[in-house]
Amino acid sequence: MIRNYFKIAWRNLKKNKFYSIINISGLALGMFCSLLIWFWVKDEMSYDRFYPDYEDIYYVRCNSDFNGKVVTSALTPSPLAEALKKDVPEVAFATKLAYNRDLLINFGEKAGKENGLYASDDFFDVFRLPAIAGNPKDALASPNHIVITRNVAEKYFRDISPLGKTIRLNNDKDYIVGAVIENIPSNSTVQLDWVVNFKETEQEWMQLWGNTMLRTYVRLHPEAAPENAETNMKGIYPKYADMDVFPILQPLKNVRLYSDYKNGKPSGGGIEYIRIFMIVALFILAIACINFMNMATARSSLRAKEVGIRKVVGAARNSLFKQFISESILTSLLGLLLALGLVKLTLPAFSRFVRRPIEMDITDPTTLTSIIALLLITGFLSGSYPALYLSAISPIHNLKNKLKPGFFNAAFLRKSLVVFQFTLSIFLIISMIVINGQMQYMRSENLGLDRERVLSIPLEGELYNKMEPFKQEVLRSAAVENATTSAMLPIDIGSSSGDLSWPGKDPDLQTNVSVMHVGYDFIKTMNIELAAGRDFSKDFRTDSLAYLINESTAELMGMEDPVGQQISFWNGEAPVIGMMKDFHIQSLHMPITPLILCLDPLNSSHMLVKTRAGKTAQAIQDLEKLTRKFNPNYPFEYHFLDTEYEKLYRTDTMISTLIKYFGILAMVISVMGLLALAAFTAEQRTKEIGIRKVLGASVTNIVTLLSGNFTRLVLISIVIASPVAWYTMHRWLNSFAYSIELQWWMFILAGSVAILIAWITVSGQSIKAATANPVKSLRSE
């Protein structure tokens, strides 16, 4: 029986090729989006779930009070891990991780930079990573030992066993390879290729509770309740540090997607983008289903006769229902196969784009279930209304072949669905325009410092040791305009301190000031404008203790004329020698905050070189030569500051590109539906068009008549989509501290694009109908 249904369904699909192709390809595109997003979401959701007993692992954050508001920090002080293990009975193991670093590794002739970190003893008890050779736990606990991954082992040792071999780290200290572990899967929030005990890098000042610079993770006992652990953790800061700070636990599996905290509670993060794209994918699928429904009901009048005859010869309503559902499921199935093919084709590009090795494993049970669910849901969603509608038709009506509006007006429903489709498409187009505008703005916005033609070179090995002679040689190159050194790149100054104080400061006021150590000529090289005072200068020996502040700092301290005033900060009590105009110290997501520059060339890790216009290639050549001369053990490495700046917007760029593609897809599917509907309408109205032509209507009259109806629908969509898009985009722009304004032309542009596209789609069919000979259409009566 079922076979028979599908046989007839197949015949029907073949008979109406034009409509079948539009339906199948529309559904395929919709399903393609859904599948792509499914694989992406699945990958994002898989983060950190491969660790054995990952449910017991927690990331420790700290809540503290800042001028009356609870702020949550992701970094924690060094003594916290030991205190947690000692004082909180629920904690079985606790480990702390220093930030990841790219350090030079040498073994014999081989040298290269590898990313790794320093971690404390319990690391492998918290993260139970599988060992290939040796015992990682013991290796980490023994002095002068290093644990490496399979990657590093294969790269440096190839055929020989790495265990017991000595490698040099950072061109500085030798370590014995104590164990080799499996490569860390890319869906781990902790990444490393080597790990050395934290004791090897620990300094005395790190022992302070006020220095938050590490990531702390704990593993609870399997049956322990995290709430109890959190309660017990409340006593730690008061006991050891006399501070009102409360450590809290975040399940490891949430670290990737719930990174934002507000008022001490998780408030989202990457999960929001996942939600947005899941919704967008569903919308696109809905648009495709709507095409199917619309065509099916529109064409129902043509099939009314078939239904009538079937009923007259005894078909029950439910067998007719099954017949029509079979047709839509068959269409969905063909769409699904096409969609899977498309996913397979585009997955490599998509993976590169989201920077994740996304796999399409359809044998995976959850994926397989979802695909089958997708097939059935799409089939039923798009088939059920037409099936109900058609199977309900009474045979008397049908045989007369005149289909009067049924239990509710199908034409009205059809129009509403077209409006719905275009509302979504226009919404996406507006979003596309706004997001694109904001991206442009971020790229071109004047940061207040000049990031163009600035190269950064990491100061490592001899470059660090001979920083000053190296700088002098660099300046000698004709292609170089200026050079300076700094502790971090001035486009993303992350370090901050609460230590600022000044005469007359309210003792209750808590401050948080960004800090950066710089060398001489920083202001000049970066082209930062001074509002008052001067840059650090070798002519004043006392400058090594002085401070350069920005306008925001002056405002924070309530000083009209800060130059010459004594303030107290990291160098102790010392004068402010200059005030910089405010410049952006982070991405435009962040507001400009108070900033203090301290002169300390020895604290530098980058040299910033400003090249002369048009001489950048020459400068790079000169710099390479110099680096090779000074630092033969290290590979020559440089970055462009503006490229590094772009990287701050990687997520934004990704979102913007995805929205662009999805917006276009939504539009394409909507247009396909409109095309089919227009073709059908024109076909339906041939007689009317013929009469009108006989009565003197011109081609233009007819085209306007036919296209006008659709244009009206698109206009309604614009009216609905605009406020929704305004609201959503307004909220999105608010996530930036600095953003463009929403402009009315963005909405007009989106609307015009939609109307234009709809018009082109529809008028093709309308012109065809309008230029047909009326004699023919009237003859068919």
């Binding site: 009317e688 009565l695 003197g696 209507a697 011109s698 009259n701 009566e781």
Partner: protein
């Protein structure tokens, strides 16, 4: 008003070529009422389509109001048509989605008459066709005779010089048919030229002259008055 000479029309469908009109010639004078008769398939509708400038002949000459119109392009034909010719069809050919009023108003819209004038003119003809009380009804809500009266109203609303009627009573019973024939006669008496295709000898008697056709050719002509 109409002078056709050696008019030809062929239809090609795949390999078969049908000769619909075969060197047909006749004249129609201004103010005349001519009936065209003949068996099914002899080319009557084809002739009417050409006279109505809906179709182009394949050969011969067609002079309308002193102008040679065969070979006119679509736009020129449409322009001439909408100002000079009204049509009445066997199957009424009203637009189902429009009301009686709107159906009759259509030709005026396409000739660019102002809305206020349109209303006045439509009311005038609806009165005359005695269908005014149904002006807001849809075609489906009317009887066949009423529908054909609407169709005639629509054909004359522009004051055309020529009315072409293709079996105007073909779908009507005899009393409704007679009503329509009376209307046409009245229009003719007011000066409108009429060419009517019919199968009914009874209806043909309303005309001045009957042209009988066979296989695309004129066979006889009877003058009745």
């Amino acid at each position: 008003m109409i002078k056709i000479t050696d008019l030809e029309k062929f239809y090609r469908t795949e390999e078969v070529q049908t000769v619909a009109l075969n060197k047909l010639s006749f004249d129609v004078k201004e103010g005349e009422f001519v009936a065209v008769m003949g068996p099914s398939g002899c080319g009557k509708s084809t002739l009417l389509n050409i006279l109505g400038l809906l179709d182009d002949p394949d050969g011969g000459s067609f002079i309308f109001n002193g102008i040679e119109v065969s070979g006119f392009n679509e736009r020129k034909r449409a322009n001439l048509r909408k100002h000079n010719i009204g049509f009445v069809f066997q199957s009424f050919n009203l637009i189902d989605e429009l009301t009686v009023f709107e159906n009759v108003e259509l030709p005026l819209i396409y000739t660019g008459v102002k809305a206020a004038d349109r209303k006045e003119r439509v009311h005038e003809v609806l009165e005359k066709m005695q269908i005014m009380h149904r002006k807001n009804h849809f075609p489906q809500q009317l009887s066949g005779g009423q529908q054909q009266r609407v169709a005639v109203a629509r054909a004359v609303v522009n004051n055309p010089k020529l009315i072409l009627a293709d079996e105007p009573t073909g779908n009507l019973d005899s009393s409704n048919g007679n009503e329509v024939m009376d209307l046409l006669t009245e229009l003719n008496q007011q000066g409108t030229t009429i060419v009517m295709v019919t199968h009914s000898e009874h209806d043909a008697k309303f005309s001045h002259r009957i042209i009988r056709m066979l296989d695309g050719q004129k066979v006889t002509e009877n003058i009745l008055v």
